[in-house]
């Protein structure tokens, strides 16, 4: 989901890059909107997630736990666990951007994978523009992600039987696409395989939503003393 930073350090270069990342996530927002409505959320609920939660993987998690018959508690816990990384992005952004207390509140809302990656990339450049990179990327993703979600949600509510179009099968495809770039080591591959196995093994035993939460214990098995 993260755009490859180009070496253009001008103000305009940063803005073009931010707009490009926004367009990419907008396309991804279309699939979120469509899948959310297919999963049984209303257009308004879908838009509330995109505007208020505004962190893609957590939104997909909430929608699919609810669609699978999971409880509200399981859905909230799943999306919060996936949103945990934003806490660490926030730490880093505070160091780099040093926003005033008033600006910290909107900055926190825009702290996601894309804006963090752009701010970090432009922090290390010969002409550092981390604040411009952060705000322009955050705002462009926010606007286009929400626009995409709305298009997808309205589109999906007008096409009839979602199964006929394979939209239910688009959900695991989306999770695979989110997971794929994160498997960067053998250890993470191990975490993924064990977690998937636990999710499947517990499905017939526990009520929907809980097998996924049990997989949150898997990382503790893979901790190393020194790394």
């Amino acid at each position: 989901m993260t755009g490859t930073p180009s070496p253009d350090d001008t103000r305009r270069g940063v803005l073009v890059e931010a707009a490009t990342i926004g367009l990419t996530t907008g396309a991804y927002g279309i699939s979120f909107g469509a899948l959310s409505v297919t999963a049984g959320l209303s257009v308004w609920q879908t838009m509330a997630l995109s505007a208020l939660m505004f962190t893609g993987a957590s939104q997909f998690a909430m929608v699919s736990v609810l669609a699978g018959g999971g409880s509200a508690v399981a859905a909230v816990a799943g999306s919060a666990l996936l949103g945990l990384r934003n806490l660490f992005y926030g730490l880093r952004m505070r160091q780099i951007l040093q926003p005033s207390p008033a600006l910290s509140l909107p900055a926190a809302h825009l702290t996601i994978d894309e804006s963090t990656a752009m701010a970090l990339a432009h922090y290390d450049r010969p002409v550092p523009r981390p604040a411009l990179a952060f705000w322009s990327t955050g705002l462009s993703v926010f606007v286009l992600w929400n626009t995409g979600s709305l298009i997808g949600a309205l589109g999906a509510s007008s096409i009839g039987d979602p199964q006929r179009w394979g939209l239910d099968a688009a959900v695991p495809a989306a999770f695979l696409a989110l997971l794929w770039p994160q498997i960067t080591s053998h250890r993470l591959l191990g975490v993924a395989i064990v977690s998937a196995a636990i999710g499947m093994a517990l499905t017939p035993v526990l009520s929907p939503g809980l097998p996924v939460l049990c997989a949150a214990l898997v990382p503790f098995l893979f901790l190393r003393r020194s790394s």
Binding site: A57, F60, S64, N86, G90, R164, P172, T203, P208, F222
Partner: protein, 101 residues
């Protein structure tokens, strides 16, 4: 029930983001914590992937979704962008179902 989950989940996700801007750094800056944070998304996404691929309520069903995930994996090895991967998954399942599979 859905609205409660949507609003509580949104509040939780915002609280986590905002916490990073207010919590003293040394509280979170632990090597074990960094490892866990790298692994949590992988564990949850992998479990979600597995469950939405084969779960049908509380039973396991192998159907067109499995083929859709395999097709999505092929698209990813060919470096397809996110939306293309999702469309390939949906199209695969749609075609299999249209053929009566």
């Amino acid at each position: 029930m859905i609205w409660a989950a949507v609003l509580l989940g949104s509040a939780a996700c915002y609280a986590l983001k905002a916490l990073g801007f207010v919590v003293p750094e040394r509280v979170l800056d632990k090597p074990l914590m960094a490892q866990l944070v790298a692994m949590f998304p992988v564990a949850l996404l992998a479990a979600l992937l597995a469950v939405v691929t084969v779960a049908d309520g509380m039973s396991i069903t192998v159907d067109a979704r499995v083929a859709a995930v395999a097709a999505a994996a092929v698209a990813l090895t060919l470096r397809a962008p996110f939306l293309v991967v999702v469309v390939v998954g949906a199209a695969t399942a749609a075609i299999i179902r249209a053929l009566g599979g």
